[in-house]
Structure formats: structure tokens, C-alpha cells
């Protein structure tokens, strides 16, 4: 890693107040880097904290949640130390987000073009006529006829809405694009188109991308680095090659086995027995211990530290050997 990371997430910890009065630790001690122009994939089961991570990075957690610990360095600014007013400057201008499916992510009573233009004008980036031109350019870039800027979201198909959402995310030329399951809720052909579009745009604009997905196929296709989350903690973190070909964490290994392999279609799909931990009643030791197939007695007692097993490849498992991770 000779290039300086654009975004450095360090020890990010969030807590949610649940309706039963308990505290849910949605994220604990999550750390990773995002390099300029690279793509990081956040992978995990539902409730593992993928989306919460994105929301925490943009400081858009719901009212019941708060960030209790950690730092988010954007270049040399700790976003978590900013006032809400200062943070608003970073939203969309430095980091924009594409939501899942974009079904309701666009305002139904506002013209699509107006919603894109609104973002540009909000940040005082250019005057009205220049903004208008940019709206049309952006739509063209994502493959939507500029004439459709005056239509409403319900007049768009699902794939077009997602394209419009991407166009909107690019409106203020952000450095980082967050994508929260951008292809879920779309059919397979459209999924491929949207992924292709994201890749092209990333290449053309040199964007850094953080993509949340539970689809390991998507990860293999677009990501440079992968963060595997389990129960709100980082289970494994490394380059896509290391994760796919040299997975060290039992959970990652099982996760990969549960994904169909096109070369061996006859193989029966493995599933991981048990259910993810409840975030209000976390086990004292490793969070994966109750479901782990290689556990030893100590796993239930000690929370595993994140170990660097190879340079840039981190695993949270006491069965592996390496020095304890020390992020800069």
C-alpha cells in the first residue's frame, strides 16, 4: 500500500437503542481503508452491519443509532469530529450514495432531472443553466435520453431508476461512491448492465467505490478489496484474491462454499447451520463460535483480535497465526 488511502475507517463502533430498551451493538471496531480509484466490497449476511457501516460513514444513522467510538478519516479530516453543518458539505460533494434498488430512493412527486439538479445547486457548484446542462450530460452518461429529465420516477423502469440514481450520485463529482446493494431488486440482465455501468464510470472518473452486497459474484467481478463482516465485526479483510483463494476465517470459507460454482454445478450447496447472533445478546467470545465447524473451547471465551496473517490480509480467528493488526 504505497498510495495514501482516501478514506480510513478506524475502530468504528455503533450502538442502537432497541424498542425493548436493550442496546444493540450493530458495529464493533470496524476498520478498513479505501484507496483512490479502488473498490472495496462489504460482504456479509443480513444484519451483519454492511449498510450500517455506510450510513455511519455518511453520518446518516437513524435517530436510534449513534457512533460511540472510532474515527473516519477522509484525507486528513476526521468526519466524526465535524459539526453536522460541516458534515453536510461532505455529503454528496465528497461521498455520494446509490441506494438499494432505487425503488423509493427518488422522490415520486419531483421530476428526475430536478432531483439531480437539486444536488448540484444545493452545493453551489454552478449556476442554473450550467447545472441544467450537467443534468443532461449525466443522464446521457448513464444511458438515459436527456429528454426524459422531465419525467417522474414512476415513468422509469427499475433499471432506469437505478441509472438515474447513479447519475444523481455523480452530480457533484464525488471522490467516493457508496453503493448499497445497487443491483438487488433488479432482474439479472439489468443487474449486469448496472454493474457494467458502475465499472465504466469508476474507470472514467477514477472514483473510489464502496459496495455493499451479499452477492459474492458481484464482489468477484468488481472489487479490489473485501471486508467480510460477521455480527457487526470484521471477520476477514484483504484483497479479493486473498479472500477468494486463501480465505482464512472459517466463516469466509463456509460463505464461499455456499456460493454456487459454475464449473462444478453438480456439487451440492453448503449452508451454514445456525443463525447469526442477536446483536443485543452477543456471545462473550468469537461471534461465529456457535456456528463454527473448527472451534476449540477457548473460542467461546476470548474475543478474537484481528490478526495480520499476510501483509494486507487480516483475519479475526484465534486459530490463525499472525501479528495483531495495527492500522495507521
Amino acid at each position: 500500500m504505497n498510495e495514501k488511502p482516501l478514506l480510513r475507517v478506524r475502530g468504528l463502533t455503533t450502538e442502537f437503542a432497541t424498542s425493548e430498551g436493550a442496546v444493540a451493538r450493530a458495529l464493533e471496531d470496524v476498520s478498513f481503508d479505501v484507496l483512490p480509484g479502488k473498490t472495496v466490497g462489504l460482504v456479509g449476511e443480513s444484519g451483519s452491519g454492511k449498510t450500517t457501516t455506510l450510513m455511519a460513514l455518511m453520518r446518516l444513522l437513524p435517530a436510534s443509532g449513534r457512533i460511540t467510538k472510532g474515527k473516519v478519516w477522509f484525507n486528513d479530516t476526521n468526519l466524526l469530529a465535524l459539526s453536522e453543518h460541516e458534515m453536510r458539505d461532505y455529503r454528496w460533494k465528497s461521498m455520494a450514495i446509490v441506494f438499494q434498488g432505487a425503488m423509493n430512493a427518488l422522490n415520486p412527486v419531483m421530476k428526475v432531472g430536478d432531483q439531480i439538479r437539486e444536488a448540484i445547486l444545493l452545493h453551489d457548484l454552478m449556476d442554473r443553466s450550467a447545472a441544467e446542462k450537467r443534468v443532461r450530460d449525466l443522464l446521457e452518461m448513464v444511458g438515459i435520453a436527456p429528454a426524459r429529465r422531465d419525467q417522474y420516477p414512476h415513468q422509469y423502469s427499475g433499471g432506469m431508476r437505478q441509472r438515474a440514481m447513479i447519475a444523481m450520485a455523480l452530480a457533484c463529482a464525488p471522490d467516493i461512491l457508496f453503493a448499497d446493494e445497487p443491483t438487488t431488486a433488479l432482474d439479472v440482465m439489468i443487474q449486469a448492465q448496472i454493474l457494467q455501468l458502475l465499472k465504466e464510470i469508476q474507470k472514467a472518473l477514477g472514483l473510489a467505490v464502496v459496495i455493499v452486497t451479499h452477492d459474492l459474484g458481484v464482489v468477484a467481478e468488481v472489487c479490489d478489496e473485501v471486508v467480510v463482516l460477521y455480527g457487526g465485526k470484521v471477520a476477514e479483510y484483504g484483497s479479493v484474491d486473498r479472500i477468494y483463494n486463501h480465505a482464512q476465517h472459517p466463516y469466509t470459507q463456509r460463505l464461499l462454499e455456499s456460493f454456487p460454482d459454475i464449473n462444478n454445478p453438480s456439487e451440492t450447496l453448503a449452508s451454514i447451520p445456525g443463525t447469526p447472533p442477536r446483536l443485543t445478546q452477543l456471545p462473550p467470545g468469537c461471534r461465529f463460535e456457535p456456528r463454527c465447524h473448527v472451534k476449540i473451547n477457548r473460542c467461546a471465551e476470548v474475543s478474537p483480535p484481528l490478526l495480520e496473517v499476510e501483509p494486507g490480509h487480516y483475519v479475526a480467528c484465534i486459530l490463525r497465526e499472525g501479528k495483531e493488526a495495527n492500522f495507521q
Binding site: L60, R91, I97, N104, A105, N107, P108, V109, L122
Partner: protein
């Protein structure tokens, strides 16, 4: 164009509704007890059966109700002839129009203030959810909504006249009756304060509660999160993306309310001896003045239908999705 088709469809439904209402209005006063002829000549006067029968023939009451009387009545209504009031011996349409403006003034002001303050309160309460402001506004609105109209009217009447010396009834002071409007404006306003205030408080509660729940629902939508992610302040999000979407259910409620508003006006106008339609309906009811009641019902029904049509029309501007369906 989609909007035109939509509106034509809605107008068709309105016309059907109107026809049904006319039928109902016509039938209602045919099944009510009481003999029109007796009502005209009075109860204690002895009049021969021949004279009674000739009166019946004169009123067209000797013909069958269907279709003759109904068709005849529809024709008369279409020409603006709503019959003659039994108690006032004047054309019903003339009486109605003379009272209509007073009521429109009261309803208009009451609705205007209750909508403005109700929407504002609801918006702020929903936005500042679970704060003391929200709880206070919620409590006030629930109480206001649950309060009986006449009771609130009486309390305000007593308080307003005793502590602020406001007039207790009428539209202008007796000395000013018949003078040109612009010369008695201050007097008119003083008379309007209490009934308008009663009206406003009564409807404000309902509007606030609906607006609050509507904005809460809207604020949980995905596009609100998008707006926040764009870097908008909470207030910008509320005004640009929350308000318009949250107003959609309000438009329907307001239009529907216009009908109930008039019934509300019956209580308020009676309490404040306000010379409007509500008071007229109450008097007509007491005096069993069926033609007058029938005319008043017709006017109320038509105004509800028109209000609903206006709401449908407004919807096409507020919600682009309406045109698509």
C-alpha cells in the same frame, strides 16, 4: 392527454353522484311525515276537502311521485326554482343565496386558519417528534378534536364577551344592519372573531393530527434519506421533500371536510346567532319548512361534490402518479 381523461372520468362520477343525491333529496321529503297542504294552510284552520284537493292539484301533488313529480322537480331545479319556503313565503333560492355569503365567509375564514395553523403545527410536531412541543401540540389537538362544537362555542362566547367585550351574536351590530359593507367592516370583524375562533380550534386539531402522522410517514421514506445524503439540512428536507408528499392526504381530508364543515356551521351559527345557512337549516328544521330544507340540502350536497372535484383536479398537479393510473 392523461390528465384530461382522468378529469373527464372524475367528472362523470361526480355527475352520477349528483343525480343520486338529487334523487335522495327528492325522496327524503316525500317520505317524511306531514302533509304539505296542511302545512301551507296551517293546522287549526278548517278548510274544505275540495279546496285542499285543488291546492294539491296546483302543487302537482295529485300526480304520481314517479316519474311525473320527480321529473317535474328536476326541471324546476334545473331552472333554479327550488320552490317557495312555507315559513317565509319567499323563493327558497332567494333565501339561500342571501345566507350563503355569510356562511361562506365564516367557513372560508375558519377553514383557512385551521388549515394554515393545523398544517404548521402538525409539520413541526412531526419534525420535532417526542419533544415537549410535540407532546403539547398533540395533547391540545386531541382535546380540540374531541370537544363538542356547541360546548366550545358557548365557552368561547362567555369568555369572549365577558373578558374582551366581544359581541355575542349576529354579523353586525343592530344599528349597522343594512349599511354598505365597507363602512361596517371593523364591526363585522369584531363579530366574526368568536365564531371563526371556534371554527379554527375545532378543525385545527384534526388537521394537525393528520398532518403529523402524514409527515411522520413521509419522513420514513427512502427518498428522505436520499435528500439528507445529498447534504440538505433537516429543514430543507422537510420543506422540499417532506411537505408536498405529506400534503397529499391532507387535500382529500380538506375536501371531504367541507361537507362536515357545514354541519359544524349549524352548531356554531346557532350558538352565535350568526345569520347564515347553518342557522337557516336549524330554523327550517324546527318549523318543518320542507322546501327550504330540501333546497339547503341540495346546495350542501352540490358544494361537497364540487369540493371533491376540485380536490381531484388539484391532485393531478400535486401527484404526477395520479395521471398514470
Amino acid at each position: 392527454m392523461a390528465r384530461r381523461d382522468y378529469l373527464i372520468g372524475k367528472m362523470g362520477i361526480s355527475l352520477l353522484t349528483l343525480l343520486f343525491v338529487l334523487l335522495l333529496d327528492f325522496m327524503l321529503f316525500r317520505v317524511l311525515p306531514g302533509d304539505p297542504v296542511r302545512a301551507v294552510i296551517g293546522r287549526n284552520v278548517r278548510i274544505s276537502a275540495d279546496v285542499q284537493n285543488s291546492l294539491r292539484a296546483q302543487f302537482g301533488l295529485d300526480k304520481p311521485i314517479f316519474p311525473d313529480q320527480f321529473v317535474d322537480t328536476l326541471g324546476q331545479w334545473a331552472r333554479g326554482n327550488l320552490g317557495v319556503s312555507w315559513s317565509q313565503r319567499r323563493p327558497v333560492s332567494e333565501i339561500l343565496i342571501s345566507k350563503l355569503w355569510n356562511t361562506l365567509l365564516l367557513i372560508g375564514l375558519g377553514q383557512l386558519f385551521s388549515i394554515i395553523f393545523g398544517v404548521m403545527l402538525g409539520l413541526l410536531a412531526g419534525w420535532k417528534r417526542k419533544t415537549p412541543f410535540d407532546i403539547g401540540a398533540l395533547t391540545f389537538s386531541l382535546i380540540a378534536w374531541a370537544t363538542p362544537t356547541f360546548w366550545l362555542g358557548i365557552i368561547l362566547l362567555v369568555a369572549g364577551s365577558a373578558w374582551f367585550g366581544l359581541p355575542t351574536g349576529g354579523i353586525v351590530s343592530p344599528a349597522n344592519i343594512g349599511k354598505p359593507l365597507h363602512t361596517v367592516l371593523p364591526d363585522l370583524i369584531r363579530h366574526l372573531i368568536l365564531p371563526t375562533l371556534t371554527f379554527t380550534i375545532l378543525y385545527l386539531g384534526e388537521y394537525m393530527l393528520i398532518m403529523r402522522s402524514s409527515i411522520l410517514e413521509t419522513l420514513s421514506e427512502d427518498y428522505i434519506l436520499t435528500a439528507r445524503a445529498k447534504g440538505m439540512s433537516n429543514f430543507q428536507v422537510l420543506m422540499r421533500h417532506g411537505l408536498r408528499n405529506a400534503m397529499l392526504p391532507m387535500v382529500t381530508i380538506i375536501a371531504l371536510n367541507l361537507g362536515f364543515t357545514v354541519s359544524g356551521a349549524i352548531y356554531i351559527e346557532t350558538v352565535f346567532s350568526y345569520d347564515g345557512l347553518g342557522n337557516l337549516v336549524q330554523t327550517a328544521l324546527v318549523k318543518q319548512d320542507y322546501p327550504l330544507l330540501q333546497g339547503a340540502f341540495l346546495l350542501l350536497a352540490v358544494s361537497v361534490i364540487v369540493a371533491n372535484m376540485l380536490a381531484d383536479f388539484l391532485y393531478t398537479y400535486l401527484d404526477p402518479r395520479v395521471k398514470a393510473n
